[in-house]
Symmetry: C2
Subunit: 322 residues, 2 copies
Amino acid sequence: MAVYTDISEVELEALLAAYDAGSLLSYKGIAEGSENSNYLLHTTKAAFILTLYERRVDKADLPFFLGLMEHLAEHGVSCPLPVRRRDGEVISEIAERPAALITFLEGMWLRRPAPQHCRQVGRAIAGLHLAAQGFALSRPNALALDGWRDLWRKAAPRADEVEPGLSEEVEADLATLGRAWPGDLPTGIIHADLFPDNVFFLGGEVSGIIDFYFACNDLLAYDVATCLNAWCFEKDGSYNLTKGTALLAGYQEIRPLEPAEIEALPLLARGSALRFMLTRLYDWLTIPDGALVNKRDPMEYVRRLRFHRQIRSSSEYGIGIT
Amino acid sequence: MAVYTDISEVELEALLAAYDAGSLLSYKGIAEGSENSNYLLHTTKAAFILTLYERRVDKADLPFFLGLMEHLAEHGVSCPLPVRRRDGEVISEIAERPAALITFLEGMWLRRPAPQHCRQVGRAIAGLHLAAQGFALSRPNALALDGWRDLWRKAAPRADEVEPGLSEEVEADLATLGRAWPGDLPTGIIHADLFPDNVFFLGGEVSGIIDFYFACNDLLAYDVATCLNAWCFEKDGSYNLTKGTALLAGYQEIRPLEPAEIEALPLLARGSALRFMLTRLYDWLTIPDGALVNKRDPMEYVRRLRFHRQIRSSSEYGIGIT
């Protein structure tokens, strides 16, 4: 939620000269995206987003991310389209950072999504899973089991500062998930970070999906599990069964889950909760107070973890309830 | 440079329903303005800025600020125009804060203004001074001599933490300025904060002046002195005579300064440098590290103060040099 890098109009006009995107009328740093700097541009042609990739993003991944957005947009997913320069490239450089100009999507992300929005999100994520089939590039999930273990190694010594006993809890989870993680479910490209601030709505319908910078190849049902974590819990930590039911039903309208995927949901949701808990915990312990990066409470995801641990059947998420 | 208050699309759509400004398409918190939260809105009609007034702004001053913008816009100054609601009001409320919807001005503020821009700014501030004549409301300058003394009383005990000896320096300045401050120069409404980030340019011309939240009644030449401080010093602290000459010449093209105003410039510039030094010093000492508010180095303005102290004649600023 910050602009890390300021740019001058001289630099920006020089960058725009490589595109056929009109002349610059205004640009404003916007308070969105937690990893990169984003500017909203108005030109004589249209509105655009210029994203400056800060050091958390590996430059080698940019062709995957931007190519995926282009592939998805071509296959009917409403997502930002990277604008090609006149020389055919999509990656530019400004202020010593790689940068991409992408189309601006109208729409608002919902601070308080309702069940009908969760159904739309379910449909949208399933649509994305199907549309991504056939995309030529692939990218392993850096935040899968091995990535969790790496993060945990760095965070473990101080985890009990956040809550006494947390260390023991996480060790047990990692052991369980390492043993039981499913290896034979349908895979494909997943968004991997589909939180409410990454989905725009307009007139009650999804108008756009943004922020593909965690997208990767992994279990499709793991993406659904992340959506349950991201959309179906209330501020007090309770699971909203109505929202979960709606989200799962929306997904299945477009891509029915296989029985093995349904059965794996509690484990996948637990893994997903652990993944977000670990990145939050790591940031919590390592980012100095007052840095521009948002620090979010890892305990919110510890509570989700505890919830998923005690699930006995996927029906408790609302699967198949209509 | 921050968005202090998040708003939901539900609140925002309810607010917009009071206006005839179209339906909401998108809104983004923008990283501009140091006192308030600002959102850039796209509606089916146009682009707008929604400003939420945070607690640093006195709600009782809003009719002055918004009325002034309306008056200036009506008198040919390119500045944002507050949009009236259907009930005729200009002040709304959202997220428990007073808020105003204003028109969006295209244009960019210049990170590295050149002399020709300084001339434009001189012309623009003179035009503003003339256009503001006849505005019915008035507002004393809360950051004039008495205000400086108040700030100093709070900051003085710790001023030497910033630089040893600073306390003694400032005491001497306050005494000199209190004794010699001119009482008989032309007065009127001044912008009082016309830094580069408050002036937009498009195609080499001023396309808009924004942020009237320090505007007040005071000596017109004091506003010119503030522009010298804001536009005509380089990053290394040196005074750029070419920029100063251009700014003063631009001003005088539209409103020639009286001999007494010219003579008073070194004192006014010294007072203005002290004013910005004091607010920075106060923030520096009181705002906790890591707060959202930008803390700027007071020493930058201590160096300006020292520069103005040794000026022997206004010609050293470039006045009358053509």
